[in-house]
Amino acid sequence: MKKEGQTIGEVLRQRGISRRSFLKFCATTASIMALPPTMAPVIAATLEKTKRPSVIWLSFQECTGCAESLTRSHSATIEDLIFNVISLDYQHTLQACAGHFAEHIREEVIAEHDGEFILIVDGSIPLKDGGVYSTIAGMTNEQILKQTAAHAAAVVSVGTCAAYGGIPKADPNPTGAVSVADIIKDKPIINVPGCPPIPVVITGVLVQYLTFGLPELDDLGRPKAFYGHSIHDRCYRRPFYDKGLFAETFDDEGAKKGWCLYKLGCKGPTTFNACATTKWNDGTSFPIESGHPCLGCSEPDFWDAGSFYKSLSTPTGNIAEKAIYAAGAGLLAGAAIGAVHRTKKQAAVRQHRRATIDDLGEGS
């Protein structure tokens, strides 16, 4: 299972992957990372000489969508190459073995590659009630995570659940779900959020890590290379936003003409992801291109950030109702205060003593 000591280049050659294929892979990966195309040869040269890393993939409270995203949504082509670049030694869904044997492999990798392997996590970790809501082989997710992460070189949190808690953490968060970063504090963590994340972004992050080491992260722990721009910034419908042309409903003229979906609740302006450039389903399209506003799935708490179909800058409460009640209350309070003032003024009028020239002081 393990190809101890082999470089990625050696592995690729062994598997009959030509140098041109590899160059092509590097060129497209650099393109996804928005790196200058001239970096492709550098990536190629570095990867060639890099030792093929061992990877443990842990799945916790998740829907397997992230793994599906990576393995199934694209046919086994360029993205598949990542499985040649890495040695995926443990992954529930993909590995052939099961039960004690599978767990044994995990322990073996930890022992053999202590401090060198990459830990990929998808799914959030339940902490409530001692973490009983998700256990594997009698261990809680938290225990497995802590035990494994302690020996990892770095952790990659794939998917919004692992990165920020995601849907399990959504209100009312029945399992007390938390993100990887909430538990692991002493290892570098790269968040690759998205529900699911874009497949090529997952592979891109791994390539980036292998080539350049720990990537530059934004304040939410995401690699800037992939999450550096908002959907809005890169959206092909942006010109309509700038011109003030908006679809008002899903089937009006504006929608048919492909106008901006901001009014339909698009979270593009506050969502950082590569959807608008990388797109989905073999580069076919992305939600906005299909006519649906961005849900903001790569952002923390996206499930609870108000309605998917309400613009993100609008108040969530019933403002008109509150305004009417407030005005009513103001009317009553104002009448009371006004009455006090009125009484005071009337008292002043009553106190008025008719003024005569004797009340003026000395004249000249």
């Binding site: 934004d218 304040d219 939410l220 908002s230 910034d233 936003y241 700038d242 011109k243 003030g244 908006f246 901001y262 009014k263 302006p269 506050t270 952002e299 923390p300 708490d301 996206f302 609870d304 950030a305 108000g306 309400k310 613009s311 993100l312 800058s313 609008t314 108040p315 969530t316 409460g317 403002i319 008109a320 509150k322 305004a323 009640y325 407030a326 005005a327 209350a329 103001g330 009317l331 309070a333 104002g334 009448a335 205060i337 006004g338 009455a339 003032h341 009125r342 003024k345």
Partner: protein, 219 residues
């Protein structure tokens, strides 16, 4: 508190609170004004109070040429930032959505790059106005804490809004949250400061015009 939690709070409870304070406060202000009453005028009228009042409500938006020549900065800067605020508040699409959400009324907005230009003009004008307030002897004499506070709470939403639009300085959710928060501060302070002139000035102008109109004078 994460950015999104903050954003949800400012869009939810905080906006409710600000709305309640703004509405109740302004109604109280108006009640305080109107309940002081006004004596009926016993002199024989030469003109109409209503016509004079309404006329001045509109006419006073413009200034006579002589005064304009004497105080061009105040007039031009005042116009610029008021128009700027109007465009920003009422013609920027995300803002129209707020009004639509509250009232159900909607109207077409302007392209965002035009609103952006107005925002820049407004920001520059407001800064110039602040400097003018410091330097002009009359304004220095008149100005009190209230004036600077009002300037600040007017300037902040424009600046934070502009930053949020360009997504400069922080995460967009945080920028929007801070922007909405600054608007809420404006709303909360509205009834208690001279910001309330936005509502009371129509009453003031009407009274001015009515007093003059009764005597047959256009004021």
């Amino acid at each position: 508190m994460t950015d999104v939690e903050l954003l949800l709070w400012v869009r939810g409870p905080a906006f409710d609170i600000a709305t309640v304070i703004l509405c109740a406060g302004m109604v109280i202000r108006f009640m305080e004004i109107f309940m002081l009453g006004r004596k009926a005028n016993l002199a024989e009228a030469r003109g109409s109070e209503m016509a004079g009042g309404l006329g001045t409500v509109f006419r006073r938006t413009l200034v006579d040429t002589g005064t304009f020549k004497r105080t061009p900065f105040t007039v031009v800067a005042g116009w610029l930032f008021h128009i700027g605020l109007f465009v920003i508040i009422f013609l920027f699409v995300p803002h129209i959505l707020v009004f639509e959400g509250a009232t159900g009324l909607s109207w077409p907005g302007l392209p965002s790059n035009i609103v952006d230009a107005f925002a820049v003009i407004t920001i520059v004008t407001l800064l110039a106005i602040l400097i003018h307030r410091w330097r002009d002897p009359v304004l220095r004499l008149l100005s009190e804490f209230n004036d600077y506070l009002v300037w600040l709470v007017t300037f902040t939403p424009v600046l934070t809004g502009w930053l949020a639009f360009h997504r400069v300085g922080a995460a967009p959710a945080a920028l929007i949250a801070v922007h909405i928060l600054s608007v809420e501060l404006l709303m909360v302070l509205f009834p208690f400061t001279k910001l309330s002139h936005a509502f009371t000035l129509w009453v003031a102008r009407w009274y001015n015009g009515a007093i003059a109109g009764y005597k047959g004078v256009k004021s």
